[in-house]
């Protein structure tokens, strides 16, 4: 969408309105909207902003960073936003930056996203030419630059503190918290790191109000959500739907159900680092609280579907192979534990598994659980594994007993 098209659709009205408000009042609106981060963790956005030091004594420069790393396998939502509606992200960023009195903003974009890079570069230039960006935005006295930073690929860059190290041109190891980035982030200054989809909601909330935003949802978590489905369904794709849309509706009405001749066995509800849900969970409303109640996480809201002709052990091996490869190596439980986990699953797939391997895998899910590693990569990595051991136990056992993968 070009700038004139975006403006015709009501674009930059949220920014115009925000610039007439006090920054703290913008944050208050976001708090009241109940917008939660769409990158996977679901932290309340307004609360996050309220931790940033404000006022004349606050340290400067302050930074806003759009997290456009999107390397979680099965996740393809931010790419669509940046390719099809780049000004929506830019407007959201300017409003968010205004709310925290940021001086400079960066878009941290994964290197493989070449087309989004071109779309965003063009949109940034258009926004600057129309004084939505740059010095004295729309005569308000507020100034902001947005720089597009192309990254060079590592899953850990999506973790907010690792992202900061990557943006500083270093290896992307996570940082110790506290201090939290809101107080001590990029180059030691206050920084908000926010997912692309989250930022795309911000100016709509300012423009139309927090109550409007909350009413878009079917449940208590405000707004809409981009839901995606991949795997052997009839119509894989991406849809913006009310938060709380039932899983069955997404899978059957929007994705068209399973392909002919295939049966649904389970899915990862929000990318590679979430626990499997199975048939008994299909009536779950897709929001943060309800998905958690049934033992998983909403995550990115982009689902990966497992059918009855695809090997669950092979699928989990593929996932653990990814996580083991992408471990940054900073802490031992993660780099060593995930490599071990992957090796066991590969042996099982190749018919070399033993009953004891199941005990070891179960141990790994506890050994790599939250609190035992430096960041959330390894705990996320074992989520699909722990739920696969629960729901597909028979499939693991068949691999061991038959000394082969039954799907080959």
């Amino acid at each position: 969408m070009s700038l004139p098209e975006y403006e015709r659709a009501g674009g930059y009205q949220g920014l115009r309105k925000a610039l007439t408000m006090q920054p703290a009042d913008v944050t208050e609106l976001i708090k009241r909207s109940n917008l939660r981060g769409r990158g996977g963790a679901g932290f309340p956005t307004g609360s996050k902003w309220s931790f940033v030091p404000m006022g004349k004594d606050a340290p400067h420069p302050k930074y806003l960073v759009a997290n456009a790393d999107e390397m979680e396998p099965g996740t393809f939502k931010d790419r669509a936003l940046m390719e099809r509606d780049p000004h929506q992200l830019i407007e959201g960023m300017i409003v968010a930056a205004y709310a925290i009195e940021a001086d400079i903003a960066y878009i941290f974009l994964r290197g493989e996203y070449e087309w989004p890079n071109q779309c965003l570069s063009k949109a940034i230039a258009e926004a600057k030419a129309s004084n939505y960006l740059g010095r004295n935005i729309l005569g308000s006295g507020y100034s902001l630059e947005i720089h597009l930073h192309a990254s060079a690929g590592r899953y850990i860059c999506g973790e907010e503190t690792a992202l900061l190290n990557a943006l500083e041109g270093k290896r992307a190891h996570p940082r110790t918290k506290p201090p939290f980035p809101q107080v001590c982030g990029l180059w030691g200054k206050p920084t908000i790191v926010q997912n692309v989809e989250t930022l795309c909601n911000v100016h709509h909330i300012v423009n139309k109000g927090p109550d409007w935003f909350r009413r878009l949802s079917l449940t208590e978590d405000g707004g809409t959500k981009l839901f995606g489905v991949s795997g052997k369904v009839k119509r894989p794709g991406l849809w913006e739907l009310p938060m709380g849309t039932p899983l069955r509706e997404i899978l059957e009405d929007h994705a068209g159900g399973m392909r002919d001749g295939l049966r649904f066995r389970g899915l990862l509800p929000g990318g590679a680092s979430t626990d499997f849900l199975v048939e008994e969970h299909l009536d779950t409303p897709m929001d943060y609280g309800n998905v958690q109640k049934v033992g998983s996480r909403l995550g990115t809201g982009t689902m990966v579907v497992l059918d009855d002709q695809t090997c669950p052990v092979g699928m989990v091996w593929n996932l653990e192979h990814f996580f083991a490869q992408e471990s940054c190596g900073w802490c031992t439980p993660c780099w060593s534990g995930l490599a071990w986990t992957e090796k066991i699953l590969l042996a099982m797939e190749q018919g070399r598994g033993s009953a004891r391997d199941l005990e070891t895998l179960t141990f790994q899910t506890k050994f790599l659980a939250p609190g035992n590693t430096f960041c959330a990569l390894a705990p996320g990595a074992v989520e699909p594994l722990q739920s696969a051991l629960k729901y597909f136990a028979e499939d693991f056992r068949r691999h061991i007993d038959e000394h082969r993968c039954p799907w080959r």
Partner: protein, 154 residues
């Protein structure tokens, strides 16, 4: 030596950051875009411009998946091996591609035309399996489509 164009592009990036370390990754990608990889010679030149040690830059380069410190073929195919592509048969597509080009993943064809590399999720999960050649995304791959795509690059 860095070319004039490389130098200009790197200098423009320097304006976006408060120090030279922050430009390290993008500068290496700028170099790589033209010659396919980052040679020792280019890395030395870059270290002088950015006033950073070669060891520092090499340490950064070897951490990231997309920075290449060894030569590649004229075209680089990034083959997605992540979960959605795997479910949709990326193993079979990969084997077909390797067999057509006569090189395994990680290798370069004998005529120097193609280098095949694995990549994690390209964000094209609803059009899996997918691969990217020289920055262009190719989706919904099947064996026939792979052969048609290859003819575009030869």
């Amino acid at each position: 030596m860095l070319t004039v164009e490389e130098r200009e592009e790197i200098d423009a990036k320097l304006a976006d950051y408060p120090n030279t370390q922050a430009v390290a990754i993008e500068a290496m990608l700028i170099i790589q875009r033209r010659q396919g990889w980052v040679s020792d010679e280019k890395l030395r030149d870059l270290s002088e411009i950015l006033r950073l040690s070669v060891a520092n830059l090499d340490g950064v380069a070897t951490f990231y998946n997309l920075i290449r410190r060894r030569p590649v073929g004229r075209h680089v195919a990034l083959v997605c091996d992540s979960v959605s592509c795997w479910i949709m048969g990326s193993d079979r597509m990969r084997d077909h591609l390797c067999s057509k080009l006569g090189t395994p993943i990680g290798g370069t064809t004998s005529d120097g035309q193609f280098t095949l590399l694995p990549i994690v999720c390209l964000g094209a999960c609803d059009h899996a399996p997918a691969m990217m050649i020289d920055g262009t995304l190719h989706e919904d791959l099947n064996e026939q489509k792979i052969e048609e795509i290859l003819t575009q690059y030869t």
